[in-house]
Symmetry: none
């Protein structure tokens, strides 16, 4: 979850409320760093102020829409001309008028997430002897389908979405697991990786797909 606002106060309050709701929040103060954060963090929702220094909210939104379907909630001042605002708001999934109550924002966030979370991103990944289908949540390994639990599937899908990239346990916990939990045991990841290997690897001792990078984390090898 990414919060973009040049007013530190607003940023803080919004962040506090969202974190209280169990979300993991990244902040950005201007359009440029917002776009950077979007690339590096892969948030699953963006709260975006329209009035921003350097690159304004609308530009951020349109750039972001080129590559991503991530839900966006806009913050707009009540005073701006309605017509202009309307244009801005059209690429967004919801909007909140400033000044707003944090409670209302939190409610919108939940509502938008509920609407748009499950459907969107579900491409099909195809490797040599291993296919991962996001739509059916099915994994086939050398032709035969493999039954994976939800977390196992999510973990595999996340790793396979960025082949050869190394992810630390902490990173995986943050991305694949509900970031709501305060602190989680990194060994949780280890256990899931183990079970995953048992299911998709021919020889779990010497993995073909999920490699251990010592002292760092795991990597999916295509």
């Amino acid at each position: 979850m990414l919060v973009v606002d040049d007013e530190p106060m607003v940023c803080e309050v919004v962040t506090a409320y969202l974190e209280r709701d169990g979300f993991d929040v990244t902040q950005a103060a201007d359009g440029r760093s917002a776009l950077e954060a979007l690339r590096s963090e892969r948030p699953d929702l963006v709260v975006l102020d329209v009035m921003l220094p350097e690159v304004d909210g609308f530009s951020v939104l349109s750039q972001l829409r080129r590559t991503s379907d991530v839900p966006v909630i806009l913050l707009t001042a009540r005073t701006e001309e309605p017509d202009r605002i309307l244009g801005f708001e059209l690429g967004a999934d919801d909007y909140v008028l400033k000044p707003f109550s944090p409670r209302e924002l939190a409610a919108r966030v939940r509502s938008v997430l509920r609407r748009s979370m499950p459907a969107a991103s579900a491409p099909r990944l195809d490797f040599d002897g291993l296919t991962i289908d996001g739509a059916t949540r099915e994994v086939t390994c050398d032709g035969s389908t493999v039954e994976l639990t939800p977390k196992e599937f999510d973990l595999l899908a996340y790793l396979a979405a960025s082949p050869r990239q190394v992810f630390s346990r902490a990173q995986l916990l943050e991305q694949v697991w509900d970031s709501s939990a305060d602190y989680q045991d990194p060994s949780t990841v280890t256990v899931h990786v183990r079970r995953l290997r048992k299911k998709i690897e021919i020889d779990p001792e010497t993995p073909r797909w999920i490699h251990t990078v010592w002292g760092v984390g795991y990597r999916f090898e295509p």
Copy 2:
């Protein structure tokens, strides 16, 4: 599909979203050209802004209703609360408050289309031992017809229309149920699935058709 709005920005964004959903879109900027387009194009759905120059949306709607049953979705500003009722009396099929998210509009469009053209959009689905006829809303299971309630049929038809794809409960609520309802209990879906299974499955405990995908949702297995 015809989109009528005097704001080019709005028109463009709505068009973009609808085209992304595979619809063929014509645009009109005012009431007069909207009526012309209606005559020449014969769209199967109209998205109509109420505030229009020259001839306003309501006039367009009432003129249009003299000759056509085409589904209409009205766009109304959030402030014009009382007009809503007027719109419905005149024969609008749904309305969306401005400013709106394109995603929501697209959902309404799908919902209205589903309601209004049951025959065309619902061909006959034929699986091994199970047939679902959208035109007659009849389901036969191993030769014998099964009596389904409206919701049960809609649910089954929606699932079967995308075999093997997993749908979350929230997704099903949004698509099969009226998306206008702000919050609904996901367990509603569970119960309907149960009743559906009781009617079409030989052994409801180990379903042949509607599979549970743990932690995610349901999937129709052809």
